[in-house]
Amino acid sequence: MSYFARYLTRRIVSAVLLIFIVMTLNFFIIHSAPGDPVTIMTGIEQPSKEIVETLKKKYGLDEPVFVQYVKYITNLFKGDLGYSYVYDQSSWSLIKERVFPTLILTLSGSILAFIIGVFLAIFVSHLKTKFGDTIVSIISYILYATPSFWLGLIMILVFSSKLSWFPTSGMYNLRETYTGFKKILDFLHHLTLPVLTLMLIQMPVFYRVTRASIIQNYKEDYVTTLTAIGVPKRKLFRKYIVKNSIIPPLTIFGITLGFSITGAALIEIVFAWPGMGRLMLDAIFRRDYQLLLGIYFLMAIFISVAMILTDIVIAFIDPRIRLT
């Protein structure tokens, strides 16, 4: 297990590094913005003297940029996500109730996309007809090219406005106060369209990677060997090809979470889903950079944790990674 421990440590170190780089970039972007950094950081046109004083003390704004940078990073790693002077609240208190809606939307959308994408690829390659492969491939190309916000709007247009099957926006029906099981049903009813949209946007990536990996696997030596010793084709496919082909899409699962959280943010805006994406957009329009940086930091952590978790899952499935 010591190999694995070392492997995990390496992953965690690179995750911390990633967060570090993201926040460094953000820091320097804000600092290279035209205008006075204090005004920009607060997001208010004319910040009061107290705010200016506090900020100057906190980040040492009269000191050299490097010192400011060190102070900024230390504050972050102490868990201080900043203070929103626009809302006059700490960033964390604004963000914390938004974490769950974003997490559930992103994760359920991505996991569904993974399952369906992988399943479709396996199914199509099992059919072994050129026609099926072409149709599904073209659909995957089209979905890959579809802007998530547009697909969300079309979903609303078709399933909410025309068919009235699903609500157009929000997370709960505000006119009713459901409790218990009914509340969960209401929540799922609101969740369906956003998750469906995110799933459709994400699915092509998993489909294409799995498809490529199945084709690649058929060219491997072990297939030749197993065919030669008379393993039936069905068994070969089910037992070996499928199992081996799942690893590449799983590997990209962690990487695509960054992409999927972007799609989720746009989808949240379309469906008025009360998640971090919407809060982020509000922060951008109100120039609330402290809040924005807090959201970024949290998203970076979220992506890193998700990547480490996928790595652990892969390590358990694929002994080659765990043991070398």
């Binding site: 690179s14 804000i30 035209p34 090219a145 802007p147 079309i154 294409r208 972007t262 943010a265 746009l266």
Partner: protein
């Protein structure tokens, strides 16, 4: 030159490549001849407010009576130029950074590789959002920012290419006869190794078009141009009783991005005929 002819012929044996190229040429004609193709001026107001598709207005009109077909045609200009300029900047940066880092190696290479790896994991779109929000949203800025944030995937490809070319006889001979490093880089490594970057650039053009559409949809696009994302944003309010306002700009966005995906995959098939049927990432 014969090699190039072969390359073109091989590219056009791939059906995806052919379809992608055909859509691309059509859109390019739309962009260049927008003035002749569009029946109205993109911002010309009229009495027919929110009128459905008809002979007079093939794609209908929007809430200000503007002809949607004309606006979509003019929007092609914005999307294609964003695709070309952004992906062009990204390709140039990626090729130079990747080639230098792979060729010289050492500590610089280590740092560059780490930066590339991290960049590939960051949700780039948010980075672009914050930059556009702070520095303002003019179309050239948006192209520049997309280019400056998407080069790492090109750099990674170019670096790998450089590492393999460095060991080939061609480069070793050039070195032994005393050619300078810079000369080797620019006359041997970059010209021989850049083709996969070109294929990747086609995919990045599609990505840049989607990014610009998303920015415009959020209201952070250039206010002075007619773009598909902006049209979708404006149509949100009216879509439930005027589907044509939202459907057509979306379909054109998809067409443009699909065309570039097809071209990118076609190029990849042409470059790596052995892998046909297998996309590398």
């Amino acid at each position: 030159m014969r090699k190039f002819g072969d390359f073109v012929r091989r590219y056009f044996t791939n059906p995806y490549g052919v379809v992608g190229f055909a859509i691309f040429v059509t859109l390019l004609c739309f962009a260049i001849f927008a003035f002749y193709i569009s029946p109205y001026k993109p911002n010309a107001l009229s009495e027919d407010v929110l009128s459905p598709p008809s002979y007079k207005h093939p794609f209908g009109t929007d809430h200000l009576g503007r002809d949607i077909f004309s606006r979509v045609v003019y929007g092609t200009r914005v999307s294609l130029s964003v695709g070309f300029v952004a992906a062009g900047i990204s390709a140039l940066l990626g090729i130079f950074i990747g080639a230098f880092s792979g060729y010289y190696g050492g500590i610089v290479d280590e740092i560059v590789s780490k930066i590339i790896d991290s960049f590939l994991m960051i949700p780039i779109f948010f980075l672009i959002l914050i930059i556009v929000a702070i520095f303002g949203s003019n179309l050239f800025y948006i192209m520049l920012v997309i280019g400056l944030t998407t080069w790492p995937s090109n750099a990674r490809i170019m670096r790998a290419q450089t590492l393999s070319l460095k060991e080939r006889g061609l480069v070793k001979i050039a070195k032994s006869i005393g050619e300078s490093n810079i000369r080797i880089l620019f006359s041997h490594i970059i010209p021989n190794g850049m083709y996969p970057v070109v294929a990747n650039s086609a995919l990045q053009m599609g990505g840049a078009i989607l990014t610009e559409a998303a920015l415009s949809f959020l209201g952070l696009g250039d206010p002075n141009v007619t773009s598909w994302g902006k049209m979708i944003n404006e149509a949100r309010t009216y879509m439930s009783f005027a589907w044509w306002t939202i459907v057509f700009p979306g379909i054109f966005t998809i067409l443009a991005v699909v065309a570039f995906s097809f071209i990118g995959d076609g190029l990849q098939h042409t470059l790596y005929p052995k892998l046909s049927g297998v996309e590398s990432e």
